[in-house]
């Protein structure tokens, strides 16, 4: 997960319980299926944006920078629906096999805003959550067995090793004049050695963890994840806001 800036790390959202934050976000995203009108869709983006600018500690510029790559996808979502939605109104415009309609464009805008909401909650979550805190919180708050939580954390943590391994493989192959002919086929050539190396390393990590006494027994935690009224408040505010958007508009 990306390094949060100091301002974000100190933000109120960063102090929320990671597991509850994740659960609440998932519930809100689940409810997005009920958003059908353009106004609802546009409004559903408001809560996460307000949260990011207030308790998320993100500046407007950072926010725009994070959301900008989504602009292309926003266009695509509108386009898919505009071109493929089935509607009763007369087709406005024909082009090749596409039938663009007004209803389709509206459907597209609804879908695009829904996806924007999902992306915005995502940015809010990623930029205010520490991965290790999330894993520890999963154990402490949601009773995920530590074996799974820490096992997965260990697995995720040595992702950067892949990049290094990739460069090594490439250097070794170039030295022997056996590098892949095209850069696109390189992934096929390198897949097996990369994966088998990864499996070997993971086994070593697992053995090392067990050798240091990582077992399923009762355990204490160095990091204590806070859980309290502010998590409840956060959940209630978000749920209420979305309920209002879905019912009132």
């Amino acid at each position: 997960m990306e390094q949060a800036a100091i301002a974000q790390a100190k933000s109120l959202a960063a102090k929320l319980n990671p597991s509850y934050k994740l659960l609440i976000t998932m519930i809100v995203l689940f409810a997005l299926a009920l958003v059908h009108h353009p106004l609802q869709a546009v409004l559903s983006v408001v809560p996460p944006i307000v949260l990011m600018l207030t308790i998320g500690g993100l500046s407007l510029i950072t926010l725009l920078k994070r959301l900008l790559p989504f602009a292309v996808f926003f266009f695509f979502y509108v386009f898919f629906q505009a071109a493929y939605s089935t509607t009763n109104d007369a087709t406005v415009y024909h082009f090749l096999w596409y039938h663009f309609s007004k209803t389709g464009v509206i459907n597209g805008i609804v879908l695009a805003f829904r996806m924007l909401t999902s992306v915005t909650y995502g940015v809010l979550f990623v930029s205010t959550t520490d991965l290790t805190d999330l894993i520890v919180s999963l154990c402490q708050d949601l009773r995920v067995p530590p074996k799974f939580a820490y096992g997965i954390l260990a697995g995720i943590r040595f992702m950067p090793m892949f990049k290094e391994e990739w460069h090594k493989l490439r250097a070794a192959r170039q030295l022997r004049g056996r590098d892949a002919k095209w850069s696109v086929t390189r992934i096929v050539t390198y897949a097996l050695p990369l994966l088998s190396q990864a499996i070997r390393t993971s086994e070593r990590v697992a053995v090392a963890m067990e050798a240091r006494g990582f077992t399923n027994g009762p355990r204490t935690y160095y990091r204590q994840i806070h859980r309290g009224m502010r998590d409840v408040l956060y959940g209630l505010v978000l749920l209420a806001a979305n309920l209002v958007i879905i019912i009132a508009f």
Binding site: M1, T25, M26, L29, F30, L32, A33, P69, F70, V72, F73, F76, F79, F80, Q81, A83, Y84, S85, T86, G104, N107, L111, R114, M115, T117, S118, V119, Y121, G122, V123, F125, V126, L131, K147, F148, G151, I152, L153, A154, G155, I156, F158, M159, F162, A191, L192, L194, L195, S196, A198, I199, R200, T201, S202, E203, V205, A206, V207, M209, F214
Partner: protein, 184 residues
């Protein structure tokens, strides 16, 4: 039947690798969708390859679901254009892919079970896409096309392909300590 630590770590590593692949796929196949939703469905199967790969190697209850969730979370955390919805769709794809393994009580790991798993993962994908991804607005032909082609795509890309990768890895000998090699 309980999981060993090494199985969990290997599952996580493989899932995260798949998550990185999912992210690349996210960007590639929007263009194909523009040409036709059904054409995009043909590529859908790759998005639940982690399920088949990890389940085939580890062969434990919940492997397909766990792998897909971890993969989808990695995809999301690395910056997927689907945002948090990526985790959500992963949940449905993983649940789908898990069903055939559960139905065979985690005993049968032939090509048929693998293809079934990929195909049912396609049903999970369609369920999500129908309610959240706007597929419910398409014509009936496109909807059925999406379902059928996703299932076929899943059977091949998330069923046959992971089996081939798994078998190739088994031949290298690195999986000797895993259930795929007939040992616990």
């Amino acid at each position: 039947m309980s999981w060993k630590l090494r199985e969990i770590v290997v599952a996580a590593v493989l899932s995260v690798v798949c998550g990185a692949i999912y992210l690349g796929w996210d960007f590639l196949f929007q263009v194909v969708h523009a040409a036709s939703p059904v054409a995009q469905a043909a590529f859908n199967g790759l998005w639940w390859i982690a399920s088949g790969l990890v389940a085939y190697i580890v062969r434990k209850p919940g492997a397909a679901l766990l792998a897909e969730l971890v993969g989808a979370f990695a995809e999301f955390a690395l910056g997927s254009p689907y945002g948090m919805a990526a985790v959500f769709i992963g949940l449905f794809q993983g649940l789908g892919a898990e069903i055939p393994f559960l139905a065979t009580r985690y005993q049968k790991w032939g090509i048929t079970t693998m293809m079934l798993s990929g195909a049912v993962g396609g049903i999970g994908n369609t369920f999500y896409s129908y309610y959240w991804q706007g597929v419910n607005q398409y014509s009936v032909g496109n909807m059925i096309g999406w379902l059928v082609v996703s299932m076929i795509s899943g059977a091949i890309l998330a069923g046959v392909l992971p089996k081939l990768i798994g078998d190739a890895l088994k031949r290298t000998g690195v999986l000797r300590n895993f259930k795929i090699a007939g040992r616990e």
